[in-house]
């Protein structure tokens, strides 16, 4: 079939239109993927922050089980104290930090120590996500267990 002079270049225009359409769809897809990557990163950061907070509680549990009077050098009259530790990966890069607060006001009377650990992802200047765990540790002889464990709380101590 022979094309008339008026139909010349028809395919070229059609190809151009479809190319523009594909470019628009592709840009839309890129936008969706960007949002998807951002949400994945946020999920990873929140899981990481939770793991750091758990590390803090485990850390103070071990310290108190080794030494009920931890930290040595602080008098009994000081009821609350806190410390912060950095967590590094196998490449010695900072994963994040955990801050542990300890309230030992009821250690003698009720045999309970209140603990709070906040995990923060990234270094001090790159805090992107935090997670706080509140716990109550029984210091009764033979019952050195966490009686209360509340995750995702606002700071209480």
């Amino acid at each position: 079939m022979r094309m008339t002079t008026r139909n010349k270049g028809f395919l070229l225009v059609l190809a151009l239109l479809i190319t523009v359409l594909i470019a628009v769809i592709a840009l839309g897809l890129l936008g969706i993927r960007r949002g998807s990557y951002a949400s994945s990163k946020a999920v990873i950061n929140s899981v990481q922050a939770r793991a750091l907070a758990r590390s803090g509680i485990n850390d103070i549990w071990v310290k108190l089980s080794n030494d009920p009077f931890f930290p040595t050098g602080i008098g009994d009259e000081q009821e609350q104290f806190s410390y912060r530790e950095e967590v590094r990966d196998s490449n010695d890069e900072v994963v994040g930090t955990y801050t542990v607060k300890v309230d030992r006001a009821y250690r003698r009377t009720l045999e309970v120590v209140r603990l709070e650990s906040t995990g923060r992802v990234g270094g001090l200047k790159a805090e992107s996500s935090t997670h706080t765990i509140y716990a109550e540790l029984s210091t009764k002889p033979g019952d050195f267990t966490l009686k209360v464990w509340q995750e995702g709380t606002t700071p209480r101590i």
Partner: protein, 158 residues
């Protein structure tokens, strides 16, 4: 002709990718719900004063007692007859159960008031308790559009 096929081929490829992105996003949303539910169960078991059911063997529900998180420590010390911060009146019961294909979390306070949460659609919820070591194995089965996916989690009981 070559240009036409090239363009149409690109269009098909782009649309396929769009379908994959949509499907993966839906799967990720479902997975997030499952992970959130499993972490919630894990946190509840971790903070439980006592696991009421199951104590041994398997069960289709999980019942535990924990300290009421709405009460601050100071309130718990002041409210009770004695200073014990773990009195019965300061506790609440949490029950996970499958009801009409939906996993629910029902919380009953010591005053009898209850509140229920719908967690996610699930076709199976099973909790297996073992005594030595003290472990709970939680199995959660979720149906996607094509397949059933089973998620298992082990939680240590103090």
């Amino acid at each position: 002709m070559f240009i036409t096929f090239l363009v149409l081929g690109s269009l098909v490829y782009t649309l396929k990718q769009a379908g994959a992105v949509k499907s993966n996003t839906r799967t990720m949303d479902q997975m997030s719900e499952v992970v959130h539910t499993l972490l919630l169960i894990k946190a509840d078991v971790r903070g439980a004063l006592n696991i009421l059911s199951p104590t041994e063997g398997s069960s289709s529900s999980l019942k535990l007692v924990r300290v009421d998180p709405d009460l601050s420590f100071a309130q718990r010390v002041d409210l009770g007859v004695d200073d014990n911060p773990f009195e019965t009146r300061e506790q609440e019961t949490v029950l996970y159960t499958l009801n009409n294909g939906v996993l629910r979390r029902r919380i009953t306070s010591s005053d009898g008031s209850t509140r229920a949460e719908r967690l996610l659609k699930s076709s199976k919820f099973q909790v297996q308790a073992s005594k030595n070591p003290r472990l709970l194995t939680v199995v959660l089965e979720v149906e996607t559009s094509r397949v059933k996916k089973s998620h298992t989690m082990k939680v240590a009981v103090k």
